[in-house]
């Protein structure tokens, strides 16, 4: 696996991780609102 694929993978992981975090936060906020 070359460098480019490595960077792509890391970027992807960062994005998915970020998404998961914000999504959980969103769910928590929705619960608080109801």
């Amino acid at each position: 696996m070359n460098d480019l694929m490595g960077i792509a993978l890391v970027t992807l992981i960062i994005w998915v991780g970020l998404f998961a975090y914000v999504y959980r936060l969103d769910r928590k906020v929705s619960r608080l609102e109801d």
């Binding site: 992807l12 994005w15 998404f19 906020v29 609102e33």
Partner: protein, 222 residues
């Protein structure tokens, strides 16, 4: 499933697709050293969002001064926080790009100067908010400062770059009207812009909801 949930999952897939496309679907562009042209897919949308967030912050500020609705103040401050985040990201990605292309992380070329001033504006805005205790005073003063900062920006963006030679690559749609990049590049760039805008909208609405809850809690305590 509710509409907003679908949209959020769509965003996940969309930006994941953009990331993959940026690395595997697009060929490195001419005139760029090595693979550095790939950074542009992230750097440009981040800079765009930094500016968009500033715009929204200013519009919300004007609205606040007109109707004194606390929600407008919330919108202004949330957008400013996000704007700062994206401005920092844009600066970082930009300097990585600069390092690859021209050997130095920082050159003070007009675009780098402009993003620095935007960063300073955001930092100043948030510092001001932190220094005023009374909520209504804080909202009013912050709104005024946002507008003051906004009127300074056109001078930077339009005038400073013209005066001296810039290292910064010309904007994609350049003055000659021809595209320097192939269509794949443009597609992915547009897709990335759309995706980042979607991300901003999500973070912005989420931030406003959180602040609204905090605001409500404070009112209840009083």
């Amino acid at each position: 499933m509710r509409g907003s949930v679908i949209l959020k999952w769509l965003l996940l897939v969309w930006l994941a697709g953009v990331i993959l496309a940026a690395f595997f679907y697009v060929h490195p562009a001419e005139g760029f050293k090595g693979e550095s042209s790939r950074i542009v897919f992230f750097h440009v949308p981040m800079a765009w969002i930094a500016v968009l967030a500033f715009l929204i912050s200013c519009i919300a500020s004007v609205m606040y001064l007109r109707r004194r609705d606390p929600k407008d103040d919330i919108r202004a401050s949330v957008s400013a926080g996000l704007g700062l985040l994206f401005a920092v990201l844009a600066t970082v990605t930009g300097s990585v790009f600069a390092k690859i292309m021209w050997g130095a992380y920082w050159n003070w070329d007009p675009r780098q100067t402009s993003i620095t001033i935007l960063l300073l504006i955001y930092a100043a805005y948030l510092a001001l908010r932190g220094a005023v205790a009374d909520p209504e005073r804080r909202a009013a003063l912050a709104a005024v400062y946002a507008i003051l900062a906004f009127v300074t920006v056109p001078f930077l963006v339009f005038v400073v770059p013209r005066i001296y030679w810039s290292l910064h690559p010309d904007t994609i749609i350049n003055t000659r009207g021809t595209n320097e990049f192939d269509s794949r590049y443009t597609q992915v760039l547009m897709a990335s812009l759309a995706g980042f805008t979607g991300l901003y909208i999500w973070l912005y609405t989420l931030g406003c909801r959180i602040e609204a809850i905090r605001h409500r809690r404070r009112q209840e305590v009083l």
